[in-house]
């Protein structure tokens, strides 16, 4: 079952909407009319409370007893009773209503032990700053022991959102109106439908208008109007599809006379099949995106390894822990810059690189330099280092996961259409992976360091004799590979856990990617990472997540039989040695 969106009759809403244009303050005498409610709520929403005339303020003050009673009605344990209380608040003309509803929605409307209602401004820690819900006066900090939260559940939350949505439909801000229109899709009832037509007429924003038209069309379809289908054709919104599916199954009785062509069921079916066709394409695009996104994570995790392992021949089992360090750096930056998660994230990019690179230098100087030419022993020593780093994080920071906040500009998704939206955080990570890759290619191809690295890789003795300081090149290469691992960590902190086990989850996958792509070849790593990601995501829907992974592993094993040196093998006699 669904909850009716609003309790108040919206029929008068259109008039209220036109009243907005006058923006003339209402007279207190009209108290009780729905018009008044909407406008006052609206004025409040627009932050115009201060501009309200004195007469209204007087009314508010004299209203406090009644407001107290309204809020007290919320303080019951039954959610059904709470629903009625919310309705009563909506029906009241109190200008503070929207604020209360919002506070209630956010769980910040609370009652003190002495029966006063307050809005909690910040509910972290043991002492919470509060303000009076009636007067808005700051009351300082109160202990959470002395406060009782007015709880709501999802049903009430729906009710509150719908109530706020209808209010917002008349808001001046197009963004609010848009959100409100989105919400009304499939939620329009008879009362609202009547006024909606006029709202649509007056609506300046094309998107809001289209949405509202669809919302109305769904309602009309449910009433059996065949013509409504024309407004819905091609829309990918799930609500539209649900309504059409219902119509196609014959659940809706057509209003048109029997025998009249075309019938509702047939029309709905044809509209539906058009939609399904489009959806198929969308799903393919979506799967591709998922695959590329997973692939970009693999590439990021593996590309640092491709440098230390592929170029230097060091099998760095602590690579995962360097990724972890990058992720923890992001967390630390966010702790240092509270309230600015985005800035912290951006600053974490260079810092994470540096932290991991320094750790890498320490590993190289402390251990790896003593193991020159013994690649398998670097595996063993760095495995020991990875154990130490993990436990270090557990001991120094905490064995628990840390919260890394996703900044506003990275959360949510970009809606390409109603059925396809691309998650923003993954898109940023995908872009980031490509940028990191491009930067690495530039470094390896275009800089002195890259040249020296390639020289040392190919013939250490010769490079030395030509005046290249091989030791310095080793340090820099390892630092670069480690730093890139740190960057991977910064990106991963936006997708997954930031905890001591973070690195463990990626180390094996990273090795697979590097080996599949061909050791020593950055392009190979890119292609391997992205293609493994896509293969995995294509397989997942029909094979399941576990089987998909197994199939990919078996595929890699068989592929290596076919091409023992990966996708892009190093060629020539040198590779044989």
């Amino acid at each position: 079952m669904r909850y009716p969106p609003v309790a108040w009759p919206v029929a008068t809403g259109a008039r209220a909407g036109s009243a907005v244009e006058d923006s003339e303050p209402m007279h207190a005498a009209t108290r009780g009319s729905w018009l008044m409610v909407l406008v006052l709520a609206l004025t409040l929403a627009l932050g115009l409370t201060l501009a309200a005339p004195a007469s209204a303020q007087d009314a508010e003050r004299s209203d406090d007893t009644m407001a107290q009673a309204l809020l007290a009605a919320l303080d019951v344990s039954s959610f059904a009773a709470k629903g009625e209380a919310i309705e009563a608040i909506v029906r009241s003309d109190d200008p503070r209503a929207r604020g209360w509803l919002q506070a209630l929605l956010d769980g910040r409307l609370q009652r003190t032990d002495d029966g006063r209602f307050v809005v909690v401004l910040d509910n972290s820690g043991r002492q919470w700053p509060v303000e009076d819900a009636l007067t808005g006066e700051a009351l300082g900090e109160m202990s959470r022991r002395d406060l009782d939260r007015i709880g709501i559940n999802n049903a009430r939350r729906n009710q509150l959102r719908s109530a706020i949505a209808v209010v917002d439909l008349y808001a001046a801000d197009a963004g609010l109106r848009r959100a409100s229109a989105e919400r009304l899709l499939g939620e329009v009832d008879g009362d609202l439908a009547g006024s909606l037509a006029e709202v649509i007429e007056a609506e300046p924003d094309a998107r809001v208008k289209e949405r509202l038209l669809q919302a109305l069309a769904i309602y009309r379809l449910e009433q059996g109007e065949v013509e409504a289908i024309d407004d819905l054709r091609g829309s990918l919104h799930p609500r539209v599809r649900v309504a059409l599916a219902r119509a196609a199954s014959g659940a809706i009785e057509s209003r048109a006379a029997a025998g009249e062509e075309p019938t509702l069921v047939e029309e709905a079916r044809s509209a539906l099949s058009g939609i399904e066709q489009k959806l198929k394409v969308n799903r393919a695009v979506e799967t591709l995106y998922f695959g590329l996104s997973l692939g970009s994570v693999l590439v990021l995790a593996a590309i640092g390894l491709a440098i230390t392992f592929g170029v230097m021949g060091v099998i760095n089992m602590a690579h995962g822990e360097l990724i972890m360090l990058g992720a923890y750096t992001t967390w630390a930056m966010q702790q240092l810059l509270p309230g600015q998660p985005g800035l912290a994230l951006i600053l974490a990019i260079p810092t994470g690189f540096l932290v991991a690179a320094l750790a890498g230098i320490a590993i190289e100087r402390g251990v790896i330099q003593f193991l020159k030419g013994r690649p398998l022993e670097t595996l063993l020593a760095t495995f020991g280092i990875s154990l130490i780093l993990q436990q270090l994080v557990r001991t120094v920071i905490s064995p628990l996961n840390r919260t890394v906040v996703t900044p506003q500009w990275m959360s949510g998704s970009i809606a390409i259409n109603d059925a396809l939206s691309l998650t923003l955080n993954r898109m940023v990570v995908l872009g980031f992976a490509l940028v990191v890759f491009a930067a690495l290619m530039l470094i390896m191809r275009r800089t002195r360091l890259g040249l020296e690295v390639r020289a040392v890789t190919q013939n250490r003795a010769m490079a030395r004799s030509m005046g290249i300081r091989a030791t310095r090149v080793d340090i820099l290469t390892f630092a670069l590979g480690s730093g890139v691992a740190g960057l991977a960590g910064v990106a991963l902190s936006q997708l997954t856990n930031v905890g001591p086990n973070l690195g463990q989850n990626y180390i094996i996958d990273s090795f697979m990617v590097v080996v599949f792509g061909g050791v020593g070849n950055l392009w190979g790593t890119l292609v391997a990472g992205l293609s493994l990601g896509v293969i995995n995501q294509v397989l997942e829907p029909w094979a399941g997540a576990v089987m998909a992974k197994i199939i990919v592993l078996v595929f890699i094993i068989l592929f290596i039989q076919k091409r023992p040196r990966g996708l892009f093998p190093q060629k020539g006699r040198a590779a044989e040695g």
Binding site: F309, I315, M317, V367, F370, L371, G373, R374, P375, L376, E377, L379, L380, A381, F383, G384, I385, S386, L387, I388, Q390, Q391, L392, T395, Q504, I508, F511, M512, V515, V519, V546, M547, K549, I550, L553, V554, I556, I557, L558, I560, Q561, K562, P564, R565, G566
Partner: protein
């Protein structure tokens, strides 16, 4: 020495005789201290300790198997845990079937987890495991068959070095994921547990535990002698030749891939045997034994003990696991520092492991296997 039959050859070596002597003496001593010394006496060896030693010895056998392929054949398998676990599962299936109708649901045939997941009949691959002979044969054959299949493909295509290591890792990782699936019919994450008896002996009695410890000791002795016999035979020298100069060996007319396959399969079977002895002693087999990290750890035991010596592998396995037992008890919060530090220090300062230290004292002329040139170490 060379004129003896290949299987008897190890008995002519001082190192093998010393090893067998120490092993048998330890077994006898532990048995004596467990049976004849009263509990509470400072010299008393408790059932817990016996069990612990039994576990160490099965790990030691596993390490010997890994050393055979890594030390002598130059194949760094990061997936030997898979063979160990498969042997363990074969044994676990036998032990599960021995429970009979004494499971919690009292089903006469189906193990508890199958009743619990509402299976109505035993999957085909569970048949036969109620017979000890068949099950023990499978302990060797299943890991052997997997090694044969995998090795045939990999060696034929001349997958070498790091590539081989990584795909062995992929192998064990894939198996781990597969065994985690409950649909596989191996108990999923919980694995096989709650065993009651083996060959009619109650697994929860300390006498059975002592018996298992002794059986593991004997298996280790036999496994060691077998490996020693292989590495001291001409075949063993072909292996070393392959490890150091594969192309050269081919040009001498040896089918290198077949030799690799042979030794790899023998090693996998030994690992399976080790797993089968391990399971009744720890009382559980579950997919985490397939974890790639465990396989890496096995390699670490070998490296720590000293590669290409066999006895070094035994020393390494026992040392690391003993350290783990002690550290996790004494310093539960910091034991990973100690273990990690140990790995780093040993690889940096003791490149030839503990056996390298011993070899400095015991070095004899002509004991060619005990030492590795810098090039081999790099291989």
């Amino acid at each position: 020495m060379q004129s003896r039959s290949w299987l008897m050859r190890p008995f002519g070596e001082r190192s093998t005789l010393i090893f067998l002597g120490v092993l048998l003496a330890t077994m006898a001593l532990v048995t004596l201290l467990h049976v004849a010394v009263p509990a509470g006496h400072p010299l008393y060896v408790s059932a817990y300790t016996v069990n612990l030693f039994g576990k160490y010895l099965s790990y030691a056998l596993l390490a010997v198997a890994v050393d055979l392929v890594w030390g002598y054949l130059g194949i760094l398998s990061l997936g030997h845990g898979a063979f160990f676990a498969l042997g363990g599962y074969a044994m676990g299936m036998y032990l599960m079937r021995q429970i009979g109708d004494r499971g919690v649901y009292g089903h006469p045939v189906l193990p508890d987890f199958m009743v619990f997941l509402n299976w109505d009949s035993l999957p085909w691959y569970w048949h036969g495991f109620d017979m000890a002979g068949f099950a023990f044969l499978m302990v060797l054959l299943i890991p052997g068959a997997l090694a044969l299949m995998f090795g045939f493909l990999a060696f034929r295509s001349r997958v070498t070095g790091v590539y081989l290591s990584i795909i062995t890792q992929a192998l064990t990782f894939a198996l781990m994921l597969a065994f985690f699936r409950n649909e596989m019919g191996f108990g999923g994450n919980n694995g096989l547990t709650d065993f009651r008896e083996i060959l009619g002996f109650n697994l929860r009695s300390s006498d059975t535990r002592l018996g298992l410890f002794l059986a593991t000791g004997v298996a280790l002795a036999l496994g060691y002698v077998l490996c020693r016999a292989i590495v001291t035979s001409k075949l063993g020298r072909v292996c070393v030749a392959t490890r150091d100069a594969e192309a050269r060996t081919r040009f001498l007319g040896y089918r290198v891939e077949r030799f690799q396959l042979f030794v790899f399969v023998v090693s996998a079977m030994l690992a399976g045997l080790a797993g089968a002895l391990y399971v009744p002693q720890v009382g559980i087999i579950n997919p985490s034994e397939f974890s790639p990290l465990f396989s890496i750890e096995i390699v670490l035991w070998v490296a720590l003990g000293g590669r290409a010596t066999l006895y070094g592998a035994v020393i390494g396995a026992i040392l690391v696991n003993y350290a783990k037992t002690v550290f996790t008890g004494v310093m539960p919060d910091a034991w990973l520092f100690a273990l990690g530090g140990l790995f780093v220090l040993v690889t940096v300062f003791l490149p030839r492991g503990v056996a390298g230290l011993l070899a400095l004292r015991l070095r004899r002329r002509g004991d060619s296997d005990a030492s590795l040139s810098a090039k081999e170490a790099a291989a």
